[in-house]
């Protein structure tokens, strides 16, 4: 098993190398001089030269890449062109709201979607099943921000039970923190829930057709124990996989959700960076988010062994 873990960890290296290459080249795929691109339309030649010097754009490409990657590996993601502060520091400063949003969304999505998916599988073909799957299909059709605005309209403007926008740090008290996170998490989580519910239903449905379930049913096991003790653990691998894959959805979604709900997180940071062409910030966030995704899916692969004793490497 240790050999498997080592192999799996090593396998992420080429993926991360490609990610680094893609993130690095983004600045260079654009036609023209990257320094002029960053400086904008009204820049003087001196300003362009200053940016070129600062980003070492005068070096050959491979040296630039080596330098950039070497620094990144040491935790130095460069300096923001506009605020002149280290990208890593900017990122850390904005991290709390984003982590809070992502964790809250995952918790809500898993807690709601898994039982609902199990229920839909248990009552496959019934009205409940059709209703759940209908909502799941709808969940894929709405852009995150439209869901966000609908939630704001209903719960904040009409019912006035939750705040419209904004973020409260957890240090200001748990209750206001939670109140401000509910709507963004639901908006961000809808497509995630749809994904998890569909896979849970499909996976549980498959397990329900197996012999040991029939045996359990024949010996008179109550439905709840049958579903959650016998069926769900056997159906867990695809569900855990999709939760891992869904993290990509989540990481992309925070960018939009934070804009809708005016949450000062990493997503806002990257959107502001794009509007002001602050490339070191864009590259830094892209790199860290991709790394997060790869690490989460690495963990998911290792979790398989823990949740399913049939898997042995």
């Amino acid at each position: 098993m240790w050999a498997y873990i080592a192999r799996r960890v090593l396998a992420t290296i080429p993926v991360l190398a490609i990610v680094a290459l893609v993130v690095f080249s983004i600045l260079h795929v654009a036609p023209g001089d990257p320094a002029a691109l960053i400086a904008g339309d009204q820049a003087t030649p001196e300003q362009i030269a200053a940016i070129r010097g600062k980003l070492r754009l005068d070096l050959p490409l491979y040296q630039q890449f080596a330098l950039w990657l070497g620094n990144a590996l040491h935790g130095d993601l460069g300096t923001s062109i506009f605020s002149n502060r280290p990208v890593a520091a900017l990122f850390l400063q904005r991290l709390e709201p984003t982590v809070a949003l992502a964790v809250m969304t995952t918790i809500i999505a898993v807690l709601l979607a898994v039982p609902v998916g199990v229920l839909a599988a248990w009552r496959a073909g019934s009205l409940v099943d059709r209703g759940v799957m209908g909502v799941a299909v709808l969940g894929f059709a709405f852009p995150v921000f439209v869901v966000g605005y609908i939630l704001i309209y209903v719960f904040a403007m009409k019912l006035k039970i939750l705040p419209i926008q904004g973020y409260r740090p957890i240090a200001d008290g748990f209750w206001p923190f939670l109140q401000h996170l509910v709507l963004p998490s639901l908006a961000l989580g809808l497509s995630f829930m749809a994904l998890i519910a569909r896979i849970t239903r499909a996976s549980v449905l498959e397990v329900l057709g197996q012999d040991h379930i029939r045996t359990a049913r024949a010996k008179g096991l109550p439905a709840r124990r049958l579903l959650f003790d016998h069926a769900l653990p056997n159906a867990a691998v695809p569900i855990v996989t999709i939760i891992g894959v869904g993290v990509a959805l989540l990481l992309g979604g925070v960018v939009v959700t934070e804009s809708v709900f005016a949450i000062p997180g990493v997503g806002r940071l990257v959107v502001d960076a794009i509007l002001s062409r602050d490339y070191p910030v864009i590259q830094g966030v892209l790199l860290i988010f991709s790394l997060t995704y790869v690490v989460v899916n690495l963990i998911v692969d290792l979790v398989y062994v823990a949740i399913d004793p049939r898997i042995r490497y």
């Binding site: 080429p14 654009a30 691109l37 439209v146 605005y149 449905l205 960018v255 959107v271 794009i274 988010f289």
Partner: protein, 295 residues
Amino acid sequence: MSDALSTAAVPADASARRRRGLWWRARRHPTVAVGLAVLAAIVLATACAPWLAGHDPLFVDPMARLKPPLGAHLLGTDALGRDVWSRTVHGGRVSLVIGFAVAVTATGVGLLIGLVSGYNRIADAVLMRCMDGLMAIPTILLAIALMAVLKASLTTVVIAITVVEVPRVVRLVRGVVLSVREQPYVEAAVVAGSGFGRILLRHILPNTLAPVIVQATYIGAAAILIESLLSFLGAGTPPEVASWGNIMAEGRTYFLVAPWIILAPGLVLAVTVLAINLVGDGVRDMLDPRFARRL
């Protein structure tokens, strides 16, 4: 059910059997019929936009700013007094064209790379690592990062979304190729002396088409969604082009006083994406009944 069985049981000739087969399948998959009908209605409406709109989508009327729906304007007006309904109908043209263009280019490019990858081990090792790397970067982030360096235009939006969607097609095609190339009839073709190109085109390509067409519908739907997200964040189609995303982006500031500017195009977009997904799901189930029973 019984009449369907009896008509299917006594086919007059081959073509009649095929016709009834189609009809029978359509009845078993009513969602496809509904999806197609809704999609057709939306395509038709956007195609007839100049006649359906009633107002000029670009006409600025300072006297009629932020008017609510169901007055002189069916879906109200935006902050410049422009008619939201006519902007939505016209905007559908942009969004649908982007969806279609991305679906075609992404599947085309993905098919090509996937075929090569499935057939050549060395190319496969390199290409699949690249695809894994691309897929590790969250879709929306990669697309907005690309838009940040490209000059905003319809073409660059299509390019940016295509780049993020191609790996999905490649994976799918590669999987099909890997399983098909081990089939006895492909081995038979090799033994019979068919060349590499002939095997690829005559035996392997046709097998990939069905899943790729299904995937193309999903990609078209995803492209429409991603375009709206990009435009909403200010990194999509240029602001003067009234795509659904741009109409909603402009409504952002006024959401508290004029929610219809976002909700109207948003709902139309959702219905469109839903219809495309229903068609995709249904076609997938028709092509693979085993899968249909599971999902």
